[in-house]
């Protein structure tokens, strides 16, 4: 057996949380907001009666969902600088920071998953409500924005949050780009001090405590927001 040295956590505490966990939480939060916004738009596109629009959205969602997240991270890491150059008309691929690059990756990746949740949410609203909206003289966007989406969103809040817990865990995969998220920070300390066992155990415990309590909260929320039918 080995000698544990948990002092290493005390020594690196500030670095682990102020640099690592801050990055992870920031990325999770922003990717959740961006992912839900774009995911909702994608869901509306998928449900559109325009064949072209729905095919484009469906293809995107199915493509993203059939490829491993690690590969998607690599894709965007190399692709984003080229797209950026193409948008601003530069000759050279532009330099995108680690944070921006991973943020774009996670927004576009999670959007595909949030899209499927929002699609189920929109489809759970009875058709008659859309007709009622139209009968009142509302146009498409008014019906969507005032009647369908608020209810769809409310119905889906627990599922959206559960997906966000998954996202929070998935952010750890930016490790493959040597970015200093929570896992990245811990593994840097672990390798510097030769304390892999303590650091990785600590990381596991922190993730477990956070994700477990969040999922308990979601469960409680689920009972609260449930609409009695």
């Amino acid at each position: 057996m080995i000698n544990f040295d948990f002092d290493v956590i005390e020594r690196s505490w500030v670095y682990l949380f102020q640099t690592g966990m801050a990055f992870t939480l920031e990325l999770t939060g922003l990717a959740m907001v961006g992912g839900i916004v774009i995911g909702t738009l994608l869901a509306m596109m998928r449900l559109s009666s325009n064949k072209l629009i729905s095919t484009v959205a469906t293809t995107y969602v199915n493509l993203i969902r059939s490829v491993p997240l690690v590969l998607v991270i690599f894709w965007f890491y190399f692709l984003v600088p080229y797209i950026g150059a193409w948008i601003i008309g530069a000759n050279e691929p532009i330099k995108v920071g680690a944070f921006t690059s991973s943020l774009i990756t996670f927004i576009l990746f999670e959007a595909a998953y949030y899209c499927e949740i929002m699609r189920a949410g929109i489809q759970s609203i009875p058709r008659g409500q859309v007709w009622a909206g139209q009968a009142l003289g509302m146009n498409y966007w008014q019906t969507m924005g005032n009647i369908v989406l608020p209810q769809a969103f409310r119905n889906m809040i627990p599922v959206l949050l559960t997906q966000t817990i998954v996202l929070f865990q998935d952010v750890s995969l930016v490790y493959v780009l040597s970015i200093t998220d929570f896992v990245g920070a811990a593994s840097k300390v672990a390798q510097r001090d030769g304390r892999l066992v303590e650091m990785y155990l600590f990381v596991a415990v922190v993730y477990f405590v956070l994700c477990f309590s969040l999922s308990l909260l979601v469960k409680r929320l689920q009972q609260k927001v449930a609409i009695i039918r």
Binding site: V67, Y82, Q169, L173
Partner: protein
């Protein structure tokens, strides 16, 4: 944009002594499939056991099984990989630890064990959902016929539940294939890792990743069709299943 496209790159020799770059990618596919398949068998067996326990009338057993599920669900897969690969050999007695570290295929063995446990918790949730979805009369009918609890499970509940959960298990199988890519962090040369190394050697980023993406999509299509075939084969008469129109 100045990027030199070269789709012929796949037929050029790669520096890793396997042959062409295409051979490199196919070798990666082999490791991806081997990892996913063996881990899947492990996940199915463990998941079926844990999932069944979750529906049993014994309180403490249910609690234990729930704890198992929560443990593997709430730690990121990457961290679990590290725990099995770096931490586990240090926590077991030194002799076993050294033996583990010297295994010729340590990343492969670790990845299979890690993915097996990780996925088993998800399979367990689906199996217990399948059992709970059965009308409760089925369990009562079993007891009324004089079957013991294990017999009720063996002959009535489980055969029904397993057929019901095949569709969600399909997506879990697709997930295990995708999740095996995380094993590149502990040095398993599976498909994504090969695409990455091909990109590093040849500088043909987009060709390498496009090829890997297409291979993953093809594998997806094969798996989905295979499972649809199995689903049709084992469909319970009278139940609504996709493709049969609920006859």
């Amino acid at each position: 944009m100045n990027y030199n496209w070269n789709w012929g790159i796949f037929w050029e020799r790669s520096p890793d002594a396997i042959g062409t770059y295409m051979d490199t990618l196919l070798a990666g596919l082999y490791w991806t499939l081997a990892t996913a398949l063996i881990a899947w068998v492990m996940a199915l067996i463990l998941g079926a056991i844990i999932g069944t326990i979750r529906t049993m009338p014994h309180k403490w057993a249910v609690r234990l099984a729930n704890g198992y599920v929560e443990l593997f669900r709430n730690i990121p897969l990457l961290v679990q990989m590290f725990l099995w690969f770096f931490v586990m050999p240090e926590l077991v007695p030194t002799a076993i630890g050294d033996w583990l570290k010297q295994l010729p295929n340590a990343p492969f063995v670790t990845a299979v064990i890690c993915l097996g446990f990780f996925t088993s918790s998800r399979v367990a949730v689906q199996v217990s959902a399948g059992i709970n979805a059965l009308p409760r009369g089925q369990k009562m009918a079993g007891t009324a016929l004089g079957l013991t609890l294990p017999q009720t499970y063996r002959y009535v509940l489980l055969p029904m539940a397993f057929r019901i959960v095949i569709p969600p298990l399909t997506s879990e199988f697709l997930n295990i294939i995708k999740n095996s890519a995380v094993a590149l962090t502990i040095g398993l040369m599976e498909l994504t890792a090969r695409a990455r190394s091909m990109q590093e050697f040849s500088f043909q980023v987009f060709e390498a990743f496009t090829a890997a993406t297409i291979i993953y999509i093809l594998v997806n299509i094969v798996v989905v069709n295979l499972m649809r075939f199995i689903e049709k084969k084992v469909a319970v008469p009278g139940y609504i299943t996709s493709g049969t129109g609920g006859k």
